[in-house]
Structures are given as structure tokens and as C-alpha cells.
Amino acid sequence: MPSKSIRQAINEALRQEMTRDPRVVVIGEDVAGGQGGTGSLDAYGGVLGVTKGLIGEFGASRVIDTPITESAIMGAAAGAAVTGLRPVAELMFCDFLGVCFDQIYNQAAKFRYMFGGKATTPLVIRTMIGGGRSAAAQHSQVLYQMFTMVPGLKCVVPSNAYDAKGLMIQAIRDDDPVVFFEHKLIYDHKSEVPDEAYTIPFGEANLTREGDDVTIVALSRMVHFANEVADRLAKEISCEVVDPRTTSPLDADTILESVEKTGRLVVVDEANPRCSMAADIAALVADRGFDFLKAPIKQVTAPHTPVPFAPALEKLYLPNPDKIETAVRAVMAD
């Protein structure tokens, strides 16, 4: 199978779905890039190049550059979705949700329920997450927890290219609003990705490592750190790594089965700790998996601070394999 990066995998998913279904449109700021300029219309393809080339293939009526106007973008995408298109709207960085969240969580997410089941909102919102590039407090956040919280939204947090493609195609074909979180530090991560279209169902976790002693549930980029720790400790401690792939719906069964086997849980989440996915998963297991537990549930998260700019501080801020190893050793010691 050909090896592709996450960036390529998402681009391919978009291209294939746009080809298949004329109702799929891409809308956002500089998703092509260059409208009204003196150069190329395909100048950006999104600030990190994920939608590059689409305007050449599908034209400006389906790859729609907008002003800087996130509320109108999200609202237009939501309104288009309930009236017959299947928009893929880009919220450049998830940090920007604050200027447009209403159209996502009060409008798109609630239509179906508020309207008694009579609205269908096949909307995908693509957005970038994550620290590690010294982009500081307003361009480095991991906010999937704020979306996961919202009934009516599905949330996807792919960790590799194979998943990214299959989950993106699923997202576009899904009849509910889906928020698709792309970690900007792993866009170049490569794995084997079939050329043809395929889907991965939501709510099905992936075991990236099998093991018997400790369950590590990790999200997005954190999956790679968890895998690294599992490999590093393989001779000493047998770690099972669970990548939920979607936080909403969440595959509770796989997590609980794993903890039933291991009796120990570490959750790794790049977000700030309060009301986080780490807390959410820990709470799930503290209820439904309590009887399996042999040790306290440990969370490895960022601290309760904004993301600092200085690389020296950001390094301390982010979860990393060493912190995960410490947590794994702590639950083994208990």
C-alpha cells in the first residue's frame, strides 16, 4: 500500500468525496487562497496546505474563499447543510472557536433535536489543534473537549493517515455535524493508506498496542507518545494503548474491556486538565470499570495554564513520553 502523510490522506479524502458528490463544498479562509490578489488562486490551500489543489480541480464555486468572518463561515456552512449541501468548513485553528461557537453548538448541533428530528445537518468542520510550534496561547490549544461536551456534535481526533482518510470520508457521508480535529504536529506523519475510498465507523477505538498490565488511553498526537512508552517499557511492563479515534461517540466498551484485562488506567490528553477528555474517560472507568481497578487512575495532561510561548516552557507544558512513563510506573507501583 502506498505510504501517505496525514495531510495527503485528508486531501485525498476531500478530493474523492468532492468528485463523488457535487454537494460537497469546501469553505473557509484561504482554503484556496488568492482571491482578489495578483497571483495564483491556489496560493495557500489552507495555511498548512491540506486543501491545496482542490480549487484547480473543482473551481471557486466549490472551494470557497471567504473573508475573515468565522461566524458567517460556520453559519453559512450550517445553513447550507440543512438546505442540501454537504459543506466541509474550515476553522483554521480550533483556538478561534470563540468568535463563532454559537453557530456550531447552539445552531448546527441542536437543529435536529430542537426541530423534532426534522432537520439533517451533514456538516464537517475541520480544525487544527495542538502545541509544539511555539505558536503561544492563542494558536496552540487543544479544545476537542469543548465540542465533545456538546450533544449533537460528533468529534474525530485521528492520530494517523490511515484513520484520517477513513474518518474524513465517514465524516463527509455522515448526516450529523462532525468536528474533525487535525493535530498540526503530525500532518507529515506517514502510514499506509489505500488509494481507494473507505470509511471507518465512528465510536470504534483502535488498539495500537496490546498489553496486559496497564491500559493507556491516548488521543491524537498523544497516541504516538503512548506507543513509544509501550515500546520502551515492553520488557518490563506490558502496556495496552487505546486510541479512541473519536471522542464523541466514545467507544466506552473497548476502554472498559481493556481495563477489565489490565486493571490499571492512564489517560493521556494534551488539553488542560479541568473537565477534559482525560477526566471524562477517568470518570467513565471510575463508575463502570470500578470493580476492575487495581490502582488509582492517572491523568497525564497539560497543566492548568495557557500555552506558553517560550520553547523551554512549552516543552514543560506538553505531555511527553517521560511523563507518561512516570504515570505508568505510578499505577504499577500501587
Binding site: R23, V25, I27, S61, R62, I64, T66, P67, T69, S71, A72, I73, M74, G75, A76, A77, A78, G79, A80, A81, V82, T83, G84, L85, P87, D102, Q103, N106, Q107, K110, F111, R112, Y113, M114, F115, G116, G117, K118, A119, T120, P151, G152, K154, D175, D176
Partner: protein, 322 residues
């Protein structure tokens, strides 16, 4: 005033239906029969009807918290509406939305909205669908004078101009947003003028004059259908009731609402003009009034007889079912 006899009848019937619906909702709400909050549209009928008469079920509108009039003008079933307000089975949203989220996708009614300024961005989306699929449909955002100051509304106007969308922004200026006067809250004191600054052809019309609204809307709808892009219309009117049913209205001179019923009643002025010019006799109006009254009675009776939603409904429709 080039409406056919049938159009005149429809216009009056829709306006009268709105008025009778709202007056009755006020009664039922005061009697404790309707849960939650209701915001009544009485006095503003010419706006919803004058605009929506140009629309088909394929055209979309987004409404506000004050949405009953837009629903009726867009063709929603009044009994299903009444059931929704009463929180009963058979309600337009199965009793899950209520007055503030009443919607009917089949009629192109994208919903009342509990968020001030929530509708205009959505209308850009409906218009984008029309433009992308080449359907010639249009989309209308009804928006209040208060909502005209919300960032989402401004953004929607700009995006509509940038993408040359078949969208129409109708600003229903009923002088107040809750208790705050429009001339205080709109810095420029000119909603249509501000819209013009966004690049939208904009007019200001007297919302007690059905024919003025109808004509302004015709131009805007024709422009949008013809590919000429978005427009704005500021419709000036007064609301007869308070902000919501039960509002003490202390921000208003004591008899302001009452005087509006005399000075600014779009139904009365419609009837006067139409009878004076001999287009329809008084008898027709009386007949419509009677029919409408019976229909509203029936709707209320139907609503009162309907059961509340079943317990299962709580967990249904959060997501689509596979």
C-alpha cells in the same frame, strides 16, 4: 398596488391569521396553558406577509425569537404550531422546540432562534445552497432592530455581498430590543443606511403599509433570483405587546402599545385601502375574520386535546439514527 383579488385575500388572511394567533396565544399564555416564553408579533404582520408572499416552499427564511408570524406567512400549519407552543405531540417540532425554536423545514422555515443574530449567517448558507446548485431559490433573514447590532448579522451581510448570494436581510425595526430603543442601540440611527455601507442595495419602508413592504420585497426577491445579489430592507413598525408576553413595558410610555393598535395597525390600513378603492367589499373581510377565528379555535382545541410527547422522545433525535 397591483395585486390580484386572490393575492389580496391571501395577504389579508395571512395577516389576520397571525393577529388572531398572537392574540389567542397571549390569552392562553396568560391563562398558564403555554409553557416557557412567547414573543408576540402583533402589529408587525405586514412585514412577514409582504415578504413571504414572494416566496415558495423552496425558498428559505430564518426567523427570530419572535417567529410565529414568519411561520404563518411561510405556510406552516397553525394547528401544528399551536401544538408546538402547547408542547404537545403533533407539534411542528414534536414539542421539543417550542416557540423559540419552532421550525418547518418542509416549508423552508429554518427556525425561530433563541440567539439574537443567529439567523443571518444561516441564511447565507441557504442562499449558498441555492447558488451552488443553481436553483434560483432565495433566502431571507428576518432580523430585529436589536439584532441588527450583533456581529453575526454584520458578518452575514458582508459575506452575502462578497459571494453575491441570493439573500435578503429584512430588518424589522419595531423600535425596541427588549427595553432598549433602536435610536440608542443603532449608533448611526439608520439601519438601512448602515446596510448600504456594506454594499447592499437598501431601502426603508413603512411596515404598517403592506403594499410598501410587498413592493420593496418584490424588488429584492427579483434581484436575488436574477443573480443580482443580496439586498436589505428596513421595515418600520410597532409591536402591540411587550417584548414577551408578561412584559411590564416600563420602558415605554404607558399607552404606547395601545396607541399603536390605533395608529399603526397594518391590518386596519390594509382593509381601509382595499375597501376604499373598491377592490374587496367589507363582507369579504368579515368572512375571512370569521374563518380565521374558527381556525384558531380549532388549533387551540386540537392542541389542548393532544397528549404531551412520550418519554422516549427525550433521547431521540440527538443524532440521526442509522
Amino acid at each position: 398596488m397591483q395585486l390580484s383579488r386572490d393575492e389580496l385575500i391571501r395577504a389579508y388572511r395571512d395577516m389576520r391569521t397571525i393577529r388572531a394567533f398572537e392574540d389567542r396565544v397571549q390569552e392562553e399564555f396568560s391563562a398558564g396553558n403555554i409553557p416557557g416564553f412567547v414573543h408576540l408579533y402583533a402589529g408587525e404582520e405586514a412585514s412577514a406577509v409582504g415578504v413571504c408572499m414572494h416566496l415558495s416552499d423552496r425558498d428559505h427564511i430564518a426567523s427570530t425569537h419572535r417567529g410565529h408570524g414568519h411561520c404563518i406567512a411561510k405556510g406552516c400549519d397553525v394547528e401544528a404550531m399551536m401544538k408546538e407552543l402547547f408542547a404537545r405531540q403533533g407539534g411542528l417540532c414534536g414539542g421539543k422546540g417550542g416557540s423559540m425554536h419552532i421550525a418547518d423545514l418542509d416549508r423552508g422555515m429554518l427556525g425561530a432562534n433563541g440567539i439574537v443574530g443567529g439567523g443571518p449567517p444561516l441564511v447565507c448558507g441557504a442562499a449558498l445552497t441555492a447558488k451552488t446548485l443553481g436553483t434560483k431559490d432565495v433566502a431571507v433573514a428576518f432580523t430585529g432592530d436589536g439584532a441588527s447590532n450583533q456581529g453575526t448579522t454584520f458578518e452575514a451581510m458582508n459575506l452575502a455581498v462578497v459571494l453575491q448570494l441570493p439573500a435578503i436581510f429584512v430588518f424589522e425595526n419595531n423600535r425596541y430590543g427588549e427595553g432598549t430603543g433602536h435610536d440608542y442601540a443603532v449608533g448611526s440611527k439608520d439601519i438601512a443606511g448602515r446596510a448600504r455601507g456594506f454594499g447592499l442595495p437598501s431601502v426603508k419602508v413603512d411596515g404598517t403599509d403592506f403594499f410598501a413592504v410587498h413592493e420593496a420585497a418584490r424588488e429584492a426577491v427579483d434581484r436575488a433570483r436574477g443573480g443580482g445579489g443580496p439586498s436589505a430592507i428596513e421595515v418600520q413598525m410597532q409591536r402591540f405587546y411587550g417584548h414577551h408576553s408578561g412584559d411590564a413595558q416600563l420602558y415605554r410610555a404607558k399607552d404606547e402599545g395601545k396607541r399603536a393598535r390605533v395608529d399603526a395597525d397594518p391590518l386596519a390600513s390594509f382593509r381601509r385601502r382595499v375597501t376604499e378603492s373598491g377592490l374587496l367589499p367589507d363582507a369579504t373581510f368579515e368572512q375571512i375574520d370569521a374563518e380565521v377565528a374558527a381556525r384558531i379555535d380549532g388549533a387551540v382545541a386540537g392542541a389542548k386535546a393532544a397528549p404531551p410527547p412520550p418519554a422516549e422522545a427525550l433521547m431521540q433525535d440527538v443524532y440521526i439514527s442509522y
